[in-house]
């Protein structure tokens, strides 16, 4: 008894000690947990302040925020003959409870003439006007700061524009309607129209300039010595999942009145549904709204045997006659040319993903077209160019096998330094002939030198590259092949124009062969040179008003297009050229048969502006800004020096409520990988596990203690 009392005394003593111990442990653990979790609260409380360097897509807690502005686009394209007239409505819907200013950088077709801007707020419609660029900017800023609704569209590149919409009310939408027209491309009996929806992030060569951030711009790239407006043409690129589910979607509708019976209408980029009503065909994408991450390309083909060989359109605008003529030279026949072919392939980071695969395949196909006796070389470039051979080699089985192996191992990585690659491609032959002894020179001198340039054109210094092509071209011909979901078509077109070649684009990854086969067969066939156009009434001023002033050489399947001002639809248009081998080719066109067209004046004005810009480039001078501005204002056109601006009369936002600017991101082109390195994932689950573990143990201790108190 005594013993048991003692033992119970002892056990009570022990349980007390255990309890004390447990209490001590839980106190320590609680302390640890508080220590561990405390910084989290500290973080959360400081997080609400605006941390420097963080984008507005990320909130104070570091969580990704979908852009507050939801962007909707609606393309309504009407094709009549050779001109496509488009109405593009961009709707900015504000889902936040603050007033917003939306900034969106977007592409348009490479030869688009923008001629109208209308802003719609609620039921009101405000028609915009053309103003010189700086003036438009001031008008917009003034309206924005005074709280009025305003919208402006500015041209950054011939195919890249920025739209700004000020004072979008919380929970409401403002839409901006843009009108533009473009010429339909006609080649090898197929009409083609492309509607770009996004842009491939461009590489900005040159050293970064140290400039203070400007309010007017906002992008991921900083201005560089070679691309001073890099930040204006580099919107943030995000994945489709990073924007709201109904943002960055476009509804598209095409109405085609080709003026001739069509065999088929198809799209290599999207599935489309067509509906025919007489000669008018309506085309809609099958899925309804499309995601804006790849160019929408539509092609239509006339019935076999009904492909047009020539066409004339006429329009009277403010008492002046405008004529647009198209002449398609017939087949010139094939003659074997001994060639020197240089393939240049872009292996920069922006080509990563689907694009480099396409390019490799295209290049392999190009190698197949080489005939014995041809010389060839393969040059790849990213930050630096690298050539397969020191100089172009004969197309022997051995060399071709080496080339195939080289091509199959190409990977996309690094920068897009095009200039040294162009120099290498355009000068390599000159060096090789100099090195070769004279025995081969007669054959070498008759060789046709061709350069095939495969790229997505994702560079910011296009203009400098065109000048370089012009300087270094010599007797070469430069052909560009556009690769990817959203290539820079302006670069493709102009590079090939300055390079006296032609351009093509691979739109359907499943059908690379089709367009390339046409390009390579056009390259193998001889072309029409020294083309001269004479309009009726040979007066000199009339000649000065027809564009393009010096028509380039024509490759097989390519039409000649001419636009003229001040020539009435009477008489005959004569076109002549020289066939390969010295023969003369001539064709005349009866202008009385001209069909009536629309928008010819705008097309003419755009051509004239382009020709003024070309002249400036050839002479290495600044373009005639005043002349271009005057022309653009007269025809109400967008140009590098004129912008559209629309301003509401009455203020909508009071000065108390703040306006938040938002740069809308663009979507990453389908199939491409982010060109630049992503930040690696650098956190572990350790803190979470430790916290959970501590919490669990604490809970256990608490329960154990409670149990002891209840049943001592």
């Amino acid at each position: 008894m005594m013993f048991s009392a003692l033992s119970s005394q002892h056990s009570a003593d022990r349980s007390l000690r255990v309890r004390r111990f447990m209490e001590g442990v839980s106190l320590w653990m609680a302390m640890l947990l508080v220590l561990f979790v405390q910084p989290l609260y500290a973080e959360a409380s400081t997080g609400s302040e605006d941390s420097a360097g963080a984008l507005h897509f990320v909130d104070g807690k570091g969580q990704w925020q979908k852009p507050a502005l939801v962007l909707g686009s609606d393309f309504d394209v009407r094709v009549s003959g050779l001109i496509a007239d488009s109405k593009l409505v961009r709707t900015f819907r504000n889902t936040s409870d603050q007033w917003r200013e939306g900034v969106f950088v977007f592409p348009l077709p490479e030869k688009a003439s923008v001629y109208g801007l209308t802003m719609k707020v609620g039921r009101r419609t405000i028609v915009g006007e053309v103003q010189p660029r700086e003036e438009a900017r001031k008008t917009y800023e003034k309206a924005r700061d005074s709280g009025r609704h305003a919208a402006t569209v500015e041209q950054q590149r011939p195919n890249l524009f920025t739209t700004r919409v000020a004072n979008i009310p919380p929970g409401a939408a403002v839409s901006v309607e843009l009108k533009y027209q473009q010429l339909v491309r006609y080649q090898n009996g197929v009409f083609e129209l492309s509607v770009p929806t996004t842009l491939t992030p461009r590489y900005m060569p040159g050293a970064p300039l140290a400039v203070t951030p400007q309010q007017w711009q906002g992008g991921w790239a900083v201005p560089t010595a070679e691309v001073p407006d890099a930040d204006a043409i580099s919107p943030f690129t995000v994945d489709v999942a990073d924007v709201a589910a109904d943002s960055h979607r476009a509804s598209v509708q095409f109405t085609i009145d080709a003026g001739l019976p069509l065999a088929r209408v198809f799209s290599p980029s999207h599935e489309v549904a067509t509906q025919q009503d007489g000669q008018v065909v309506t085309v809609l994408p099958q899925v309804g709204d499309i995601v804006m991450n790849r160019d929408f390309v539509l092609r239509w083909q006339p019935l076999a045997g009904q492909e047009p060989g020539a066409a004339v359109f006429h329009q009277q605008w403010e008492g002046e006659d405008f004529l647009l003529a198209m002449v398609l030279p017939g087949r010139a026949g094939k003659a074997h040319l001994s060639r020197e072919l240089t393939f240049v392939i872009d292996t920069s980071g922006s080509m990563a993903g689907e694009s480099i695969r396409q390019a490799r395949e295209a290049l392999q196909q190009g190698l197949e077209t080489l005939a014995p006796g041809d010389r060839f070389n393969v040059i790849q470039f990213n930050s630096q160019p690298h050539a397969l051979f020191m100089q172009p080699e004969m197309a022997t089985a051995n060399n071709l096998a080496r080339a195939r192996q080289y091509v199959s191992r190409l990977k996309a990585d690094g920068g897009t330094e095009m200039a040294p690659a162009l120099t290498l491609a355009l000068q390599s032959q000159g060096r090789s002939t100099a090195e070769l002894p004279g025995d081969e020179s007669p054959e070498e001198s008759t060789r046709v030198r061709q350069v095939v340039f495969m790229t997505d054109g994702a560079v910011g210094n296009e203009s400098a590259l065109f000048s370089q092509i012009r300087r270094q071209l010599g007797d070469h011909r430069l052909f560009t092949v556009a690769i990817g979901s959203a290539p820079n078509m302006h670069f493709m077109r102009e590079a090939s124009r300055w390079g006296r070649g032609s351009y093509t684009s691979v739109q359907d990854p499943a059908d690379i062969r089709g367009p390339l086969a046409r390009l390579f067969s056009a390259m193998e066939a001889p072309m029409l040179t020294d083309i001269e156009v004479s309009w009726p009434g040979q007066a000199v001023p009339t000649m000065a008003d027809s564009f393009p002033r010096r028509p380039g050489d024509l490759f097989q399947g390519e039409p000649l297009l001419q636009v003229v001002r001040g020539v009435p639809p009477a008489g005959e248009l004569r076109v002549s050229g020289r066939l390969p081998g010295g023969g003369k080719w001539q064709q005349s066109l009866d202008l009385q048969q001209a069909a009536s067209g629309t928008g010819l004046n705008r097309y003419w004005a755009r051509e004239k502006i382009d020709s003024l810009l070309d002249e400036a480039r050839v002479e290495g001078q600044e373009p005639d800004k005043a002349k271009i501005t005057k022309l653009a204002v007269e025809h109400s056109l967008m140009s590098p020096y004129t912008s559209f601006v629309a301003v509401d009369r009455t203020p909508a936002r009071t000065s108390e409520s703040v306006l938040v600017k938002e740069d809308l991101p663009t979507l990453l082109p389908a199939g491409s990988q982010p060109g630049m390195m992503r930040y690696p994932q650098t956190a572990t689950f350790a803190p979470l596990l430790i916290a959970l573990g501590l919490l669990g143990l604490l809970l256990c201790a608490a329960i154990a203690l409670l149990q002891r108190r209840v049943y001592p």
Partner: protein
């Protein structure tokens, strides 16, 4: 009741052990890496710290102000980050930018104490130390910002880790970037020496 308590206790303890395992592994691995680093310096080869390792030490990073130094591994693939910070870009002995990423919970936790002007030192396999000065620290969003590798100048050192430092979320989008540049002091110093020689 006591059984479920036991279960809760065991699972919590297990969680704690797993949680603590990460820093323990990081510390232990660095010891092993020190040996491998000494060996690769001596032999001038890539020597793996343990036979089945998929990575090897490429540099030693030292932060004199914080009194911390660590071995940098090649690449950020697979498990390598658990043992030490990984070199994402840049090769030893070559001019060019160096980008190193590390776990914010282990090796790169001290990054938050780095301030502009602090010194960083990087030792290559030949044993030569290269001094860097922190130019700035910034926070970036990895979902809309990339490392523009073409824009990094040759003497740049980027240290990258996750942000915020005390977050529980292992998959957050923010990154903390420390940008440092090669110090010019050395060249100035050699100029100074030449001056003295000329003075004599």
């Amino acid at each position: 009741m006591s059984r479920s308590l036991l279960l809760l206790m065991t699972s919590s303890a297990l969680l704690l052990v797993f949680g603590l395992w990460v820093p323990i592994k990081a510390v232990v691995a660095q010891e092993l890496l020190e040996m491998a680093w000494a060996e690769s310096q001596a032999r001038q080869t890539e020597s793996r710290p343990w036979p089945w390792a998929d990575t090897w030490p490429v540099a030693k990073l030292s932060m004199p102000e914080l009194g911390d130094s660590m071995i940098v591994l090649a690449g950020v693939h697979g498990e390598s980050l658990a043992f030490g910070p990984g070199q994402v870009m840049g090769a030893s002995g070559q001019q060019g930018a160096v980008v190193i990423a590390g776990h914010r919970d282990t090796h790169f936790r001290p990054l938050k104490y780095l301030e502009p002007g602090n010194e960083l030192r990087l030792q290559n396999r030949e044993g030569r130390w290269q001094g860097y000065r922190v130019r700035e620290t910034r926070i970036v969003d990895s979902r809309s910002e990339f490392i523009d590798t073409h824009k990094l100048s040759a003497g740049t050192l980027l240290l990258i880790t996750c942000y915020p430092f005390d977050s529980m979320d292992a998959g957050g989008p923010l990154r903390y970037v420390v940008e440092a540049h090669i110090e010019d002091d050395r060249s100035q110093g050699s100029l100074g020496e030449i001056d003295t020689v000329a003075g004599l």
